[in-house]
């Protein structure tokens, strides 16, 4: 019986104590006709050895690729210490820290995390995480609408935001009568079109400002933040946290700084893992703290006056406020936050900046090599962080498939999300890429594109 310790004599003694003849009798309050009599459709149990063999086979089947895919999830080096500490049972198998005195480890770590995220984003307060970057944006939209005293239920979202983030925000807020208005981008620069923004009539509770945007390009965040504030809208930043070791913190954007900042914490020590678990972060100005969703940790004192930590502002949350809570969120992504906190502590300010700078430099070097290939060009000319859009003169799915055959993931096909960019690929080279990796990619792409350009074989010559 896997993971059940009972011996026959234990079972007999326990049944006797309860006063029933068998464990079946413990289910006598369930209407008999509902008993399904077992689960014949589930395969028989496997030993640890057998399941290990199965999973190793499946992992080996998937193998490894040289990846230039980014688009919201990024390959970075994760120090060995991070996940060795994260998977200590005391972190891994603990519950949400409701019993503060028995959870000081997790609580202090969350307080340190909040401090790091507030500092990184240049804002006053942080919560203890949300599900992922996209759901954090959805929660930020709800928060901005709650904070809007005029009751405006409309938020402006640039088309340069990650399309999946927009999709998640839509599916989250649509049942509450909140309208998300898309702002087009300037096709020449790949950044939000300020003229188009001006042309959008009517009021809004907030403007979403992605930095860098989905195309990797830097948005005019100062102008966008001031534009929002001049119209009594909140400025809602969506950022890659790693980029903030290098780029201006949202709290310093424009004259007054952004009001709320969200993003995905994956680049901070969380493995790619096919898409999750990651974690969403959220920071904000102090004045908005009571509108924040999710868990928040505060420092306080115990009966002896010694400093300690506890969950706080719980009156916002579902287990107290029920139908009037700021969100239905209950679980956050505690274990991933544990990883990110340890990761940020290990890298420190200089280490994190060097990762950001190296990722930027590698993407610059990759672009130079790729754009030297006939039939490849860069699409948006402006400054970028560690991703950029290239155009190729062959169908993108075919090019990516041919690269895959060489164990290279060449980037993200922009066509399905942006019909105007159907011949374009979003590429990314983080600090993990070596000069050889970049050369391999460029050589293979050159080979694939040159073969495509060759005339089909002529029957008369052979």
């Amino acid at each position: 019986m896997p993971f059940i310790p009972h011996t026959e004599s234990d079972i007999a003694a326990m049944l006797a104590s309860i006063g029933v003849p068998s464990t079946d009798a413990l289910f006598d309050e369930i209407p008999a006709e509902l008993n399904c009599g077992g689960l014949p459709g589930i395969p028989a149990g496997l030993s640890e050895m057998a399941v290990t063999r199965l999973m190793h086979q499946r992992a080996a089947q998937d193998g490894f690729y040289s990846s230039f895919l980014g688009a919201g999830a990024y390959e970075h080096h994760i120090p060995a210490a991070v996940w060795q500490i994260v998977t200590r049972g005391e972190f891994y198998s603990a519950y949400t820290p409701y019993q503060a005195e028995a959870s000081q480890g997790t609580l202090q770590l969350l307080y340190e995390y909040q401090t790091m995220m507030a500092g990184l984003t240049g804002l006053d307060v942080s919560n203890a995480s949300l599900y992922d970057g996209a759901s954090a944006l959805a929660e930020a939209v709800l928060m901005a609408v709650r904070a809007n005293k005029a009751g405006i239920r409309r938020v402006l979202v640039p088309a340069t935001l990650h399309p999946r983030y927009l999709a998640v925000a839509r599916s989250t807020v649509k049942n509450q009568g909140i309208e998300l208005v898309t702002v087009p981008y300037d096709p020449a620069t790949g950044i939000t079109n300020l003229v188009a923004l001006d042309a959008i009539a009517g009021e809004a509770a907030a403007v979403v400002i992605p930095q860098p945007n989905f195309f990797g390009v830097l948005e005019p965040v100062d102008a966008l933040t001031d534009w929002a504030h001049q119209r009594n809208m909140l400025a809602l930043a969506v950022v890659n946290p790693l980029s903030l070791a290098l780029l201006k913190a949202p709290g310093s954007w424009g004259t007054r700084g952004a009001d709320i900042c969200v993003g995905d914490g994956q680049p901070l020590g969380v493995p790619l893992s096919s898409g999750g678990p990651y974690f969403g972060f959220m920071t904000a100005r102090q004045a908005l703290v009571r509108q924040m969703p999710g868990r928040i940790v505060g420092r306080t004192v115990d009966l002896d006056g010694q400093p300690g930590f506890a969950l706080t502002l719980q009156a916002r949350e579902q287990h107290i406020r029920r139908s009037k809570a700021t969100s239905n969120i209950c679980t956050n992504q505690g274990l991933l936050v544990t990883a990110a906190t340890i990761h940020m502590a290990l890298l420190g300010p200089q280490g994190l900046k060097n990762v950001a700078l190296s990722s930027h430099a590698n993407t610059r070097a990759l672009l130079e090599r790729l754009c030297a290939i006939p039939g490849v060009e860069r699409v948006f000319p402006g400054p970028f962080f560690h991703e950029a859009v290239i155009r190729v003169n062959s169908p993108v799915p075919d090019v990516l498939r041919a690269l895959r055959a060489q164990s290279i993931l060449g980037g993200y096909d922009l066509g399905p999300d942006y019909p105007d960019l159907a011949d374009c690929i979003l590429v990314c080279a983080t600090e993990t890429k070596t000069d050889d990796d970049l050369t391999q990619y460029a050589q293979q792409l050159a080979r694939i594109l040159s073969r495509r350009r060759e005339a089909p074989p002529c029957a008369y010559k052979s």
Binding site: L39, E75, Y131, S171, H360
Partner: protein
């Protein structure tokens, strides 16, 4: 001491990042950060010692019995973790094509199929990332179903008063009003109140079963009949699925939608508050609305279904489809247990709960529902003890920590005064349960003889009782250097 207080300017973990990096001379100065982020400057050993030290200030399943009702704190098998963290699984990019991940996708598909079998539902999506996220998906599907039929007058979700707070909060997030119905003295939904509550405005009912009172809803078939006849749909909150695994299936009972908490029933870790996973299962009529992505099998190959496959879907719930690493852990757990092992989960969860309830009753504790069979959890009420000694359920819980046991859930459900909701799970041995009974009895005796000792507990933990009021009044959420 905070990690920031260990810092020394110029100290670094030199192995962990490029030591030098080319300047970003192509970026405009106004886009750049002017001062470095306030992260600690510490060595690798500083970090390892600090966070290892913090971990030792936690209670956890690996170190203590954790009878936290409604949370299913069972042993998290280590193989589930190590196999989900095989390097190929960790390295796989979420947007990589399906042909690069057939091993991973096959595992996801098989888990999805097993969850269908376990729940008896027609289809499953594993997109939701937590229980509350699954609840959101479930109620959003109920709304999409009514909306698609033009049945838009249905504005209410019925929720029993014993429900988790996530139920009413979820209904609100989906744009519904909440109508609460009472529980009868036996702990069942009050059928007369339900009959009076349903009508043309009813979108659906959210029901936790076994309920948060730890008992099986005896009239569950009738409850559904009442809601269905009024045109509403029925939602099964699977928070307590551990109690019925392999014995009864929500699909067979006629439910339209269920969410499961894999971090409870399928033993993925709670992680100090996440990540969880909250897959949803649906009946045939809600299938078109399932959240995306879910896994399709076509001629032996697997891929994720997206927008074009499911035009009526309620949509995406996360950027990349869900907590895949959690789902991998649940898959390994399900394969190790097998069908028979899953049946034993409910069998032994019930045995442990009923044994613990019987022993505590013999030790003089008052059960909230003594006439009922415990499902996988049960409630002790300390009202009498409080009236006699002034010791509250909270005090009692804090003193249990001194005895090396995590406290049961306190003050939930809200219906029972001074309650302890106790869930031992199937993975605990008889000796552990006996030791817990002894500790409960010892605290009870202390409460009767030296109530101040209990009221001022804990005494042996890293912190004494913390001042929650100060924490909320004088907000200190972020450390600032002195």
């Amino acid at each position: 001491m905070l990690i920031f207080e260990h810092a020394h300017p110029g100290r670094r973990a030199h192995a962990q990042a490029p030591l030098t990096a080319p300047a970003a001379d192509d970026l405009p100065a106004e886009a750049l950060r002017q001062t470095p982020p306030p992260l600690p400057e510490v060595s690798e050993l500083d970090v390892v010692r600090h966070y290892t030290g913090l971990s030792q200030k936690n209670f956890s399943i690996d170190t203590q019995f954790y009878p936290l009702g409604s949370c299913t704190m069972k042993y998290n098998p280590r193989a589930c973790n190590s196999l989900a963290m095989l390097p190929q699984f960790l390295a796989r990019h979420p947007l990589a094509d399906a042909d690069t991940g057939q091993g991973f996708l096959a595992s996801m598909y098989e888990l999805q199929e097993m969850l269908k079998e376990v729940t008896g539902m027609a289809a499953v999506s594993m997109a939701p990332m937590a229980g509350a996220h699954g609840e959101f998906a479930g109620v959003a599907m109920i709304r999409a179903y009514h909306d698609a039929r033009g049945d838009t007058a249905r504005r209410e979700i019925i929720v029993p008063d014993a429900a988790h707070g996530t139920n009413p909060a979820t209904a609100t997030m989906c744009g519904y009003a909440v109508r609460e119905i009472p529980t009868d003295r036996q702990g069942n939904v009050d059928l007369e109140a339900l009959k009076a509550a349903v009508g043309a405005q009813t979108a659906g009912l959210m029901l936790t079963n076994p309920s948060t009172l730890g008992v099986f809803e005896k009239t569950i078939v009738e409850i559904q009949k009442i809601v269905h006849e009024a045109g509403g749909l029925t939602y099964y909150d699977g928070a307590n699925l551990n109690a019925i695994l392999g014995r009864v299936r929500p699909g067979d009972m006629g439910f339209d939608v269920i969410h499961m908490n894999l971090h409870k029933t399928f033993s993925t870790p709670h992680g100090g508050g996440g990540p969880g996973a909250g897959p949803v299962g649906v009946s045939e009529r809600l299938k078109p609305y399932l959240p995306i992505p879910y896994v399709l099998e076509e001629q032996g190959l697997h891929r994720y279904a997206g927008e074009t496959d499911c035009p009526a879907s309620i949509g995406r719930m996360s950027a990349f489809g869900g907590n895949m690493g959690v789902l991998l852990r649940a898959f390994v757990y399900a394969r190790m247990l097998g069908g028979r092992g899953m049946q034993r989960v409910a069998e032994f969860a019930a045995l442990n709960a009923n044994y613990l309830a019987a022993e505590l009753r013999k030790a003089g504790f008052e059960l909230a529902y003594p006439g009922r069979r415990a499902s996988h959890e049960f409630i002790v009420t300390l009202k009498k003890l409080k009236d006699e000694t002034g010791v509250t359920a909270m005090d009692f819980a804090k003193r249990l920590l001194d005895y090396g046991f995590h406290a049961p859930t306190t003050y939930f459900p809200l219906l029972v005064p001074e309650c302890l909701l106790i869930e031992p799970t199937e993975t605990e041995s008889k000796e552990t349960l006996d030791a817990f009974v002894a500790a409960m009895l010892a605290v009870k005796r202390e409460a009767e003889g030296q109530p101040d000792l209990v009221k001022s507990a804990p005494h042996k933990l890293p912190s004494r009782r913390l001042d929650d009021v100060k924490a909320a009044r004088e907000l200190d959420l972020v450390w600032k250097p002195a």
